[in-house]
């Protein structure tokens, strides 16, 4: 396996620039969770010019909505949801200072372009391993939109959360590169 790079939030231009699609990282620090409805609400608030419930400057959003914690625990199972549903909103959020996104699945050309423009990194977390992923979460508090229930935005503190760089600031895309590398031509 490749070298594993340890990084911390808040992410900076320098850290983002040094990461390349395909890199394995261990991420530590605070991240926000947010998915469909929270994104729509943030986006609409930005368009209206309203003050946002959270400052996006330097933030990393993990597209996730955990299960309710069992008694005696502070977090349930947690993992990434498919990112493309946030594509409509993500460029605007990056414009507002968002530096990292954690999810799974392909992004739109508009998002990939904004990733380059705003020096942002899109990370992949493994989907469907939420019992394991919860172990990297050390703390969880509600950050915004508590009324959304399962879709509320949380502030999580993570430690050594294993991620793969999917899209980097140079415009590279792990999904494109990897599939090409492993594709077996049917005519062969």
């Amino acid at each position: 396996m490749k070298n594993i790079i340890r990084i911390n939030t808040p992410l900076t231009d320098k850290v983002c620039d040094e990461l390349n699609a395909g890199d394995m990282v261990l991420l530590s620090g605070e991240v926000l969770t947010g998915r469909d409805v929270a994104h729509r609400k943030l986006f609409e608030a930005i368009l209206r010019g309203d003050k946002l419930p959270i400052n996006l400057e330097g933030e990393t959003i993990f597209y996730a909505a955990p299960t309710p914690p069992r008694p005696g625990r502070f977090i349930g199972s947690v993992g990434p949801t498919t990112s493309y549903r946030m594509d409509k909103y993500s460029p605007k959020l990056m414009e507002m200072g968002l530096k990292g996104m954690i999810g799974k699945g392909k992004r739109s050309p508009e998002v990939i372009d904004a990733i380059k423009r705003f020096k942002v990194v899109y990370f992949g977390a493994i989907g469907g391993v939420a019992a394991l992923t919860a172990r990297y979460v050390k703390k969880s508090v509600v950050a915004a939109y508590d009324d959304l229930g399962p879709e509320a935005m949380l502030r999580l503190e993570v430690l050594d959360f294993p991620l793969v760089v999917l899209n980097d600031t140079k415009g590279r895309d792990l999904y494109e590169d990897a599939a090409k590398k492993y594709m077996i031509n049917l005519s062969e």
Binding site: T67, G76, S77, K104, G128, P150, A178, A179, K181, Y182
Partner: protein
């Protein structure tokens, strides 16, 4: 005349409650065994890493009694209702939804059902999707299938022209998997329904996902051959575990078929992520 057997709504509620809680925590042995084997066939190091984490996650979920995935699904329920059963103590369908409601509350499962337009959460993961079939006998077979949204979103149905034939069917399935890429959380299981009508092909595709993993279609050798061929081709696409590149894009292809209209050739592809959850009980 054969006597009817009484089954109370209370029993139905409790059975469904238990099945959904269990399904969300305990990955079937069939899935675990296929996943375990798949690690050996994966060339990509990153792909192997992903497959190993998936197996590790299943162990943790079971040990700690926590959900395998944060998406604890839309509650899909398949019922085989014996015609000699008399349901007592309430309304049968209400009991099914109540069982789901209790499972998602008592099991600390995520409530993932909302109004399609306002997107407001219904708060209790109901309504469930209920498929009822009346069969012989005096028992009820209940299958609980929590279905994740990520893989469901990558599923589709096509009304092909009959002249498309076997080749057309194959092409449609492989293109669906290629188009889905990393989104449905590969390695996936490909459920396929051929024939029937637009809705019946989709139900067949979903039912196909309930077959024990690794088991071929036993009723039609044309289908078992097609399953094998499609799996081989899909695993040459290079998508790999989580789409990070590799051999293991899918774990299996399960196809079910029934006759259709002389003008039609419906084909439905229901993708299932690697967290292939379903539990059955007979009461």
């Amino acid at each position: 005349m054969k006597a009817v057997r009484e089954i109370s709504c209370e029993t139905i509620i409790e059975t469904i409650r238990k099945l959904f809680m269990e399904a969300n925590i305990d990955l079937g042995e069939d899935v675990l065994s296929v996943l375990g084997e798949s690690v050996k066939s994966e060339d990509s190091e990153l792909g192997q890493y992903v497959l190993e984490r998936i197996v590790e996650n299943a162990r943790i979920a079971k040990e700690e009694s926590v959900p395998l995935c944060q998406d604890t699904g839309l509650a899909v329920v398949f019922i085989e209702l014996g015609q000699d059963v008399h349901v007592i103590g309430g309304n049968f369908c209400d009991a099914v939804h109540e069982g789901v409601r209790k499972a998602y509350s008592d099991g600390f499962l995520r409530k993932s059902v909302c109004d399609p337009l306002s997107r407001e959460n219904t708060g209790d993961n109901t309504p469930a999707i209920v498929h009822i079939e009346v069969v012989e006998g005096d028992r009820i077979k209940i299958t609980a299938m929590p279905k994740g949204g990520g893989s469901e979103n990558m599923s589709s149905c096509a009304m092909l022209v009959p002249s498309a034939g076997l080749e057309g069917i194959k092409k449609y399935i492989i293109e669906s998997v290629e188009k889905a890429g990393p989104n449905p959380c590969p390695p996936t299981i490909i459920g396929v329904g051929i024939g029937g009508s637009i809705e019946q092909s989709s139900i067949l595709a979903k039912k196909a996902l309930l077959r024990p993993l690794g088991e071929k279609n036993r009723s039609d050798s044309r289908l078992s051959k097609l399953e094998e061929e499609i799996l081989e081709e899909v695993n040459r696409l290079g998508i790999g575990p989580q789409g990070y590149g590799g051999r293991i894009t899918s774990l299996a292809v399960h196809i079910e078929m029934m006759p259709c209209h002389i003008a039609s050739l419906p084909v439905a592809v229901n993708l299932q992520c690697h967290v292939a959850r379903h539990k059955e009980a007979i009461i």
